[in-house]
């Protein structure tokens, strides 16, 4: 009936150290994780201290390995969808820090000309299809781009990220049924960070092993340690291959944790989770773990890490500079982009 996805332990690649990935790839993955971390830290600072960013702003701190691992074998022409917690996915898909930061600032140089904001990053250039604010609302959309790939007979894959709380909503259910029924090339990645705002998974879902949900749709599935970059890479890579070559969907539950509050304005801990719990999870910081592993395998050394940090720092600084220099949208922009063929 329902097929378990081959898991990392059994896969050939897994038997090789570091999934058989070369140094450049590994180095780049670390770079991407650190880029996300520092970008988000900067966003928080600019939001809280300088009020250059407004609205709801949901950070990806703590979950970096999920996006980086999942997208490592994606092509530029593959499609990616995310929720409102989308900065990390946008950067990894290939969007520049500048266009993302300028969007946060609400500037014309932002990827959406300042009209979308934190929750709605988009780039047609690199096929990042957003940035969506209604919980679960983008899951049917991702099913749709996968449908288009099947319809056209191209071999593009769609990857769709969402939180564990989205699993309870109708759109998830309806989408997974269609994807399995029609064999669509899509990888659903549920980022189970254990909480939807202040609600713990077990207070909202009647089943905790979320990957098991896929059985109800006869869909391949796996759960994976989302703090382990290479495991994340491996499992997703298999799912992507399955989608690309067999046109079959997969549901992956990535177990992760957000180190910060739900949005920038929310506290990191409170009634719903303790400070101790957060601290404990921080021990398994995906960046620290991966850095240590690469050093241990002598792929990089301390200097490389410093290098990365300084390259990241200039990239983030450059993003901020670009955003700062970008003008606010002119008033006419209010009325453009409502229709592509103006009325």
């Amino acid at each position: 009936m329902s097929k378990e996805l081959v898991t990392e332990a059994q896969s050939e690649a897994a038997l090789m150290p570091l999934q058989g990935l070369d140094r450049d790839k590994l180095y780049n993955m670390l770079y991407q994780m650190i880029l996300i971390r520092r970008f988000e830290e900067k966003a928080a600072e600019l939001y809280l201290n300088e009020r250059k960013i407004g609205g709801f702003c949901h950070l990806y701190i703590g979950q970096e390995a999920v996006a980086v691992g999942a997208m490592a074998s994606l092509r530029k022409d593959d499609y990616v969808f995310s929720s409102y917690r989308d900065h990390g996915h946008a950067l990894v898909k290939g969007m520049s820090g500048g266009e993302v930061m300028a969007e946060l600032f609400g500037r014309i140089g932002g990827c959406a000309k300042g009209k979308g904001g934190s929750m709605h990053m988009f780039s047609r250039e690199v096929n990042f299809l957003g940035g969506h604010g209604i919980v679960g609302g983008h899951i049917p959309l991702a099913t749709g781009s996968a449908f288009a790939s099947k319809y056209r007979g191209d071999d593009r894959v769609t990857v769709c990220f969402f939180g564990e709380a989205a699993v309870n909503i109708g759109a998830f259910h309806e989408s997974l049924n269609m994807a399995s029924l029609w064999k669509l090339p899509v990888v659903y990645i549920c980022e189970n960070n254990r909480y939807g705002m202040g609600t713990a998974l077990e207070r909202a879902a009647s089943l905790y092993d979320l990957s098991e949900k896929a059985r109800a749709y006869n869909m391949a599935h796996a759960h994976v340690d989302g703090q382990d970059l290479l495991a994340m890479y491996d499992v997703t890579n298999q799912a992507i291959e399955r989608a690309r070559h067999e046109s079959l969907p997969t549901f992956i539950e990535a177990r992760t944790y957000r180190f910060v509050g739900h949005s920038i304005s929310d506290p990191a801990h409170g009634h719903y989770r303790t400070k101790e719990e957060v601290e404990e999870y921080k021990q398994r910081d995906p960046i620290k773990t991966f850095t240590a592993m690469l050093i241990e395998h002598e792929m990089i050394n301390e200097n490389d890490v410093k290098d990365i940090e300084s390259r990241v720092r200039s990239e983030v600084d450059e993003a901020v500079r670009f955003a700062d220099e970008s003008p606010i949208p002119p008033a006419e922009e209010l009325y453009t982009d409502v229709y592509i063929q103006p009325l």
């Binding site: 957003g130 899951i139 749709g144 319809y151 309806e174």
Partner: protein, 324 residues
């Protein structure tokens, strides 16, 4: 010219556009094997095969959202709602995805998609199956909303809608599907956003759309026997509203009644009244009249249903009051 049913005109419009553009496909409940709940898509599965004509599970939110996603990457879905009553389940994807995508993405992702199906009452279908919901859709910037009243208009408008690069909501009517009308053999398109004067007149302007145009034309006929010469405007498009055609007419007739099969509060009809009083205030000799569905859920009993809906009698009475 061929005489054909409304449903055939729609079928032709879809089929021609599917021949013309390989990115166009039809998806909905029962559109394929069953040939459509109302036989609008009759024969299309046979003609175009299962790659172009998709039967769906009963998951309006899901398949409507799927259509939006497919449209983001360049397909041109025609999503059939078995009836618009069920479209309410999908409204989030229309309001929050289809209508806003272009704006939220700063102009990057447009949604060339048509959502079509019957709206409004048929015969004794009761409260949950008789709703005319155009006003809700018309409320939303980013959408276009079309509502034809006869086979000719239906075909020309649907073809335009399918070629439109923005999302179009297309309202048909169960009770009109069998209506017949002349449709030319040669290809034609009817622009979105442009109304049509279905009957010229000098005494009063009647504004209607969809099925109600035909009721209004009947009323105009009845009024002419009393010597009242009504002009009947078929809006064809609900959003964007063709204000000019209305205002020009009212400037001539100095009187107006707006007719629609919607509830009265916050409806499209009330917006049309607003536009008229704003732009033709000095031309109005009397308050603008309205005829609409009564402010109740639709009852099942035949006698009550008739009382709930706009009717020739109600229109005649509203006109008489306006002209009194």
């Amino acid at each position: 010219m061929a005489l054909m049913q409304f449903r055939e005109a729609l079928n032709q419009a879809m089929s021609e556009e599917m021949e013309r553009d390989p990115n166009v496909f039809l998806m909905g409940e029962e559109v394929g094997v069953y040939n459509g709940a109302y036989k609008v898509s009759k024969g299309m599965l046979d003609r175009f095969g299962p790659r172009r004509v998709w039967d769906t599970p009963i998951t309006e939110l899901g398949f409507c959202g799927l259509g939006v996603g497919a449209a983001m990457v360049g397909l041109r879905p025609i999503i059939e709602m078995m009836t618009f009553n069920f479209s309410v389940l999908a409204l989030d994807e229309v309001l929050n995805s289809a209508a806003k995508m272009l704006y939220m993405s700063g102009g990057q992702y447009n949604i060339p998609m048509v959502i079509r199906g019957p709206g409004g009452a048929a015969h004794m279908l009761s409260a949950q199956h008789s709703q005319a919901l155009e006003s809700w859709y018309a409320h939303i910037p980013g959408l276009k909303v079309v509502q034809p009243s006869n086979p000719y208009d239906a075909k020309g408008l649907l073809k335009t809608a399918i070629r439109d690069n923005d999302p179009v909501i297309f309202f048909e009517s169960e009770v009109m599907y069998a209506n017949k009308g002349e449709v030319p053999e040669e290809e034609y398109l009817i622009p979105i956003g442009v109304g049509d004067i279905k009957k010229e007149g000098k005494d009063i302007t009647l504004v209607a759309r969809g099925r109600i145009v035909n009721v209004t034309l009947e009323a105009a006929e009845a009024l002419s026997k009393d010597g009242i010469d009504a002009e009947v405007i078929d809006l064809r498009t609900v959003r964007p509203l063709d204000e000019e055609i209305i205002i020009n007419s009212v400037m001539k007739t100095n009187h107006a009644v707006v007719v629609e099969e919607n509830w009265q509060y916050a409806s499209m009809g009330s917006y049309i009244v607003d536009i008229i009083q704003k732009r033709a205030f000095d031309y109005l000799d009397a308050p603008i009249g309205r005829v609409h569905t009564e402010d109740v859920p639709m009852p099942y009993a035949h006698n009550l249903e008739k009382l709930a809906l706009p009717s020739v009698d109600k229109i005649v009475k509203a006109v008489q009051e306006t002209l009194a």
